[in-house]
């Protein structure tokens, strides 16, 4: 119970902190809407008017991924720059329980992108929000955000080991959008991308949301998404413990 409280309070705290950054807020407000507008016009140009809702959802999931990628990837580095990393690591809890709320908070922030693209599509382009499985869509969105937050923990733990983590984060945005089938169906990609797509939780999360939107078996995709994310959480937890011990031993916790 205490652990759950820690996770919920921590997530709310970090979500509030992110929402105090004018830069984060402005980017989160505008960029997903631009992406959604682009997707809508592209789908219209391709004569796929019946798939506009799918396009808006896809653009929203792209926004969630961007938020998790940049937020979680830089989670530990940001704490270090703010001078709060030592305090976090000194907390009488396992590091994974202290960092996980940060990465889930980036997913929660990203869910704005999903809401914004849907509302934008509804009010500006008159896209009817006729979800095939409305209740499943809400569940899928919540599970997807939590799952991506867990995946974010693995990113946070591994990125901190790399000197060029920023470069990796910048590089990973479009490949994951592409390979996960957020807007482009995986079937049109070269066959070698299939195994890559299969191990990414983003693929299954995007698929679950698409199936809840246009019809299809939502729950198997969502279960796989959650399963892979739990595995990422476990790996991230091990990596984080290793990084923390190494940094304490070498006295480099506060060093960039």
């Amino acid at each position: 119970m205490n652990v759950l409280r820690l996770l919920v309070v921590g997530t709310l705290l970090h979500a509030k902190q992110i929402s105090r950054s004018p830069f984060e807020v402005a980017i989160a407000l505008v960029v997903p809407v631009v992406q959604a507008t682009l997707a809508v016009h592209l789908f219209r140009a391709g004569g796929e008017q019946h798939r506009l809702l799918e396009a808006a959802v896809g653009a929203g999931v792209m926004g969630v991924w961007s938020s998790v990628l940049f937020g979680s990837g830089g989670a530990i580095q940001n704490q270090r720059w703010q001078g709060t990393l030592e305090m976090i690591m000194l907390a009488p809890r396992r590091p994974v329980l202290v960092i996980l709320p940060i990465t889930i908070a980036t997913g929660v922030t990203g869910i704005y992108a999903l809401l914004a693209t849907l509302l934008w599509g509804r009010f500006l382009y008159g896209i009817r929000l006729d979800f095939a499985h409305p209740a499943a869509f809400v569940v899928a969105a919540v599970v997807c955000v939590i799952a991506l937050g867990m995946f974010g923990l693995l990113l946070a733990a591994t990125f901190v080991l790399m000197r060029n983590a920023n470069a990796l984060a910048n590089t990973l945005e479009y490949p994951v959008w592409l390979v996960s089938g957020m807007l482009v169906p995986i079937t049109v990609l070269p066959s070698w991308t299939g195994p890559l797509a299969a191990v990414l939780p983003t693929t299954w999360g995007a698929r679950a949301l698409r199936e809840a939107t246009s019809g299809g078996p939502v729950w198997p995709s969502l279960t796989i998404c959650l399963g892979i994310s739990l595995l990422c959480l476990a790996l991230g937890g091990f990596a984080l413990t290793y990084v923390e011990r190494r940094a304490r031993a070498a006295a480099t916790l506060a060093l960039a």
């Binding site: 830069f23 505008v30 960029v31 592209l42 000197r163 945005e173």
Partner: protein, 261 residues
């Protein structure tokens, strides 16, 4: 001659200073691999939706990839001086600030050109696009014009940084808008009229059009008007940047807010 030296040597030193934190890994990851995946993303999306052929997406996105380095570079040329507390020293210089800041844009434009060339080459190889050999010099010119226009566009945004606190929001949003408004990913015929009109005043729009004509084998004569328009847009932003820099410099001195962040 002295002004030319100031522009080239000053620009090169400032470029090195502002990029002192980078490493080959960061450069390749952020400026070469990322834009290549952007090209692939839109090329596959275009294929799937059958909005336009591969040439449309590969050539258009290759030209657009220059914008990342050029817009952010141009913005950094002014905004980072303020952030690092060195803007006052630059403005105390007895030399022309116009020459100093225009000189800053040139290395970033060169950087953008390199990115565009690499992205076009790799994208065309990966997706099997054949470009007539005779079109290559013209394509180089179109990409150079697009990069230069983007650099001056970034400098204009950077000048706004003398007045507004968080200019990076403007830069990030502008780069996202270039994806939509330049007609690189959605053909102009499928965009609302006002978006097309706005696109005409943005960098990349005309350079991408010129590059597509050249890649289609239409020849330099067909591409020249669009190329001229791109240069005109670039020149417009160069003038706008200098005017804004001048206005905000005077205003900052008057209000003693030059180094206020």
């Amino acid at each position: 001659m002295k002004t030319l030296r100031l522009m080239t040597v000053g620009g090169a030193i400032a470029y090195r200073a502002l990029f002192n934190w980078t490493t080959p890994g960061m450069f390749v990851g952020t400026l070469l691999v990322g834009p290549l995946f952007q090209l692939l993303f839109f090329a596959y999306l275009g294929r799937q939706l059958q909005v336009a052929d591969d040439r449309f997406y590969i050539v258009g996105n290759a030209v657009l990839t220059a914008s990342l380095a050029c817009v952010f570079g141009g913005t950094m040329a002014v905004a980072n001086e303020r952030r690092f507390g060195t803007l006052g020293h630059v403005l105390l210089s007895p030399r022309s600030r116009t020459a100093i800041f225009w000189g800053r844009v040139i290395p970033y434009a060169g950087n953008g050109l390199l990115i565009a060339v690499v992205t076009l080459a790799v994208g065309a190889l990966l997706l099997g696009l054949r470009i007539p050999l005779g079109a290559l010099p013209g394509l180089f010119l179109a990409m150079a014009a697009g990069s230069l226009a983007c650099g001056f566009f970034g400098l204009t945004l950077g000048a706004l940084g003398l007045r507004f606190r968080d200019v990076w929001v403007v830069s990030n949003v502008s780069v996202a808008l270039l994806l939509l408004l330049t007609g690189v990913n959605v053909p102009a015929a499928n965009l609302p009229g006002w978006m097309v009109t706005v696109g005409h005043f943005l960098p990349i729009t005309h350079a991408a059009e010129a590059a597509r004509r050249l890649a289609a084998g239409d020849g330099m004569a067909a591409a020249a008007p669009a190329l001229g328009q791109e240069l005109l847009v670039g020149a417009g932003y160069a003038v706008a940047a200098v005017a804004l820099l001048k206005i905000f410099e005077v205003e900052s001195r008057r209000r003693a807010s030059l180094d206020a962040l």
